[in-house]
């Protein structure tokens, strides 16, 4: 399978995530779109790891595994982020009874 497909797939997912961040107004959903972006990156990394494993796996097996470890760490970080992020969203919801990001714009100009 040419790596090009995966690049396309990942970039597409990434872009969809970006679009989601752009068009949605609910904090939670925006956050989910961000998660989508992260996963796109993950997918890309894995694809590349296999690509490298194909090309230089004989010389340097680390090249492939590094990326997969990296993905693992990304997931770790993502998990941590989620806990914090949801906490913040909940706090905001507590205070304003809304998750609309545009609902809060006291800070401007």
């Amino acid at each position: 399978m040419p790596v090009y497909y995966y690049i396309f797939l990942a970039t597409a997912l990434f872009s969809i995530g970006v679009i989601g961040v752009l068009v949605r107004r609910s904090a939670i959903i925006i956050f989910m779109c961000v998660e989508l972006m992260l996963n796109a990156a993950n997918l890309l990394l894995v694809a590349f790891s296999k690509m490298h494993h194909q090309s230089i796996g004989m010389i340097n097996p680390r090249a492939a595994s590094d990326a997969q470890i990296f993905v693992f760490f990304i997931m770790v970080v993502a998990a941590a982020e989620v806990s914090v992020g949801l906490a913040i969203i909940v706090m905001m919801y507590r205070n304003t009874r809304s998750v609309d990001v545009n609902f809060l714009n006291r800070l401007k100009n």
Binding site: V18, G57, F73, V82
Partner: protein, 169 residues
């Protein structure tokens, strides 16, 4: 077309389609479900790439833990389609769409003429993705990042505490 090819296309379409649904569907709950679907599709890709460890972790952590957390929060706030704030000004929608689309275009166009993209990806073989190898690697070479990421978790934990603890006033 080989079975792998079919699976690849199926999963890709599934991932993209459900991702689109995430962005478009009204109700938050649906969004979450579609997102989970997307993650499953991606995990499928991992399996296809023979990255079993990641595939599992992806399902457990993401589709499992994280998404459930999301779902939990949404339920907690009992958000639904009508409580969902929808974008008022349409042009922001279009512009957003165009912007994201052109991002995709730009990157693809940039990669079009490069040689690197002609390389192929090794499918469903190769042992890099196996838990054994990764585990060894993780606890030998990657022990420091592993340890240090605990700091990350601690801070996240404290953060969650600090943020959500009710203050007596």
């Amino acid at each position: 077309m080989s079975i792998i090819g079919i699976l690849f296309w199926f999963l890709s379409v599934l991932a993209l389609g459900s991702a689109v649904m995430v962005v478009t569907s009204k109700s938050p709950v649906h969004c979450i479900l579609y997102l989970i679907l997307t993650f499953f599709a991606i995990s499928g890709h991992y399996i296809l790439l023979n990255a079993q460890f990641l595939a599992i972790v992806n399902i457990i952590v993401y589709a499992g833990a994280i998404m459930v957390l999301f779902l939990f929060v949404v339920m907690l706030m009992n958000l639904n389609a009508d409580s969902e704030p929808h974008q008022k000004n349409k042009w922001l929608l279009y512009i957003g769409g165009i912007a994201g689309g052109s991002l995709l275009l730009v990157i693809v166009a940039a990669l079009k003429q490069t040689a690197a993209t002609t390389q192929v990806v090794q499918m469903n073989t190769g042992d890099v993705g196996l838990i054994k190898n990764l585990g060894i690697l993780l606890f030998t070479d990657y022990v420091f990042p592993f340890e240090i990421s605990s700091v990350l978790f601690l801070s996240a934990m404290i953060g969650a505490v600090v943020i959500s603890k009710r203050e007596a006033r």
